[in-house]
């Protein structure tokens, strides 16, 4: 099994806490997105507790997703959202969005 090389890009709060916009990193084959987040939180403990959902190659994914060589991975903080009630979901926050979010992967 060979290593996989991926591009990580950082936005919003994640970018500010890490102090940079992107990294190219190499991980062992079989590494998941949750594993990468754990490695980032070891490097930058102030990331612990942030809520995010991942994207891989510009599509939403899950933390269990195994990365492939050449992937572009982003830990997407909750989007601007807003608090207006919605025609799609008449709740202040969108359940669909909530289920997309991975919760907290600080461990």
């Amino acid at each position: 099994m060979s290593d996989v090389r991926i591009e990580l890009r950082y936005f919003a709060r994640v970018r500010e806490l890490l102090g940079r916009r992107a990294d190219t990193r190499t991980f062992p084959a079989g590494t998941t997105i949750a594993d990468i987040w754990r490695s980032l939180t070891k490097e930058c403990p102030s990331l612990v507790g942030l809520t995010w959902k991942p994207s891989v190659n510009q599509e939403y994914a899950t933390p269990e997703t195994v990365i492939q060589d050449g992937d572009e991975v982003v830990f997407i903080p909750p989007v601007s959202g807003g608090t207006a009630s919605s025609a799609l979901n008449p709740r202040p926050h969108h359940p669909r969005m909530d289920t997309h979010f991975a919760g907290r992967y600080e461990r």
């Binding site: 936005f11 919003a12 970018r15 500010e16 909750p78 989007v79 959202g81 919605s86 799609l88």
Partner: protein
């Protein structure tokens, strides 16, 4: 009328011109153009906002905005929609997003416009930081 106008769907660092969106969606078949402006308000949870600073994952944001317009085309085949979203500093009173819908009839234009703004808020990776007179804070949707 023949042919569809080219789709207007983009991010910009400049003030948004609503007339450009109207021109992009309106055809002679339309009886209604519905335009939504999302604007920056001064007061946020009892703090005074100086401006908002929008950040985006630009490639994915534009891809998701196009996907939302594709959804509109499926749900409302006789309507056209346009979206322009600001990035960077947006001052109080300015629009951070404008959506326009061109439609044969008014009722469905309101429905489509509401649909588009709600989907943008759900799906499009754009974040806003509120910058106050005494600090700043990323606003998160959940």
């Amino acid at each position: 009328m023949t042919g569809q106008p080219p789709r207007l769907c983009r991010l910009t660092h400049d003030p948004i011109d609503a007339t450009e969106l109207v021109a992009a969606v309106q055809t002679v078949a339309d009886g209604a153009v519905c335009v939504f402006h999302g604007v920056v308000r001064e007061d946020s949870r009892n703090r005074k906002v100086r401006f908002l600073d929008y950040d985006a994952y630009p490639e994915m944001a534009e891809r998701k905005m196009h996907a939302i317009l594709d959804e509109v085309a499926v749900r409302w085949p006789d309507q056209r929609a346009a979206i322009v979203h600001r990035l960077g500093v947006v001052n109080v009173g300015e629009a951070s997003i404008i959506i326009a819908i061109g439609s044969p009839h008014r009722g469905e234009s309101f429905d489509a416009c509401r649909y588009v703004i709600d989907r943008v808020k759900q799906e499009v990776p754009i974040w806003k930081k509120e910058v106050f007179t005494d600090g700043e804070e990323w606003i998160e949707g959940s």
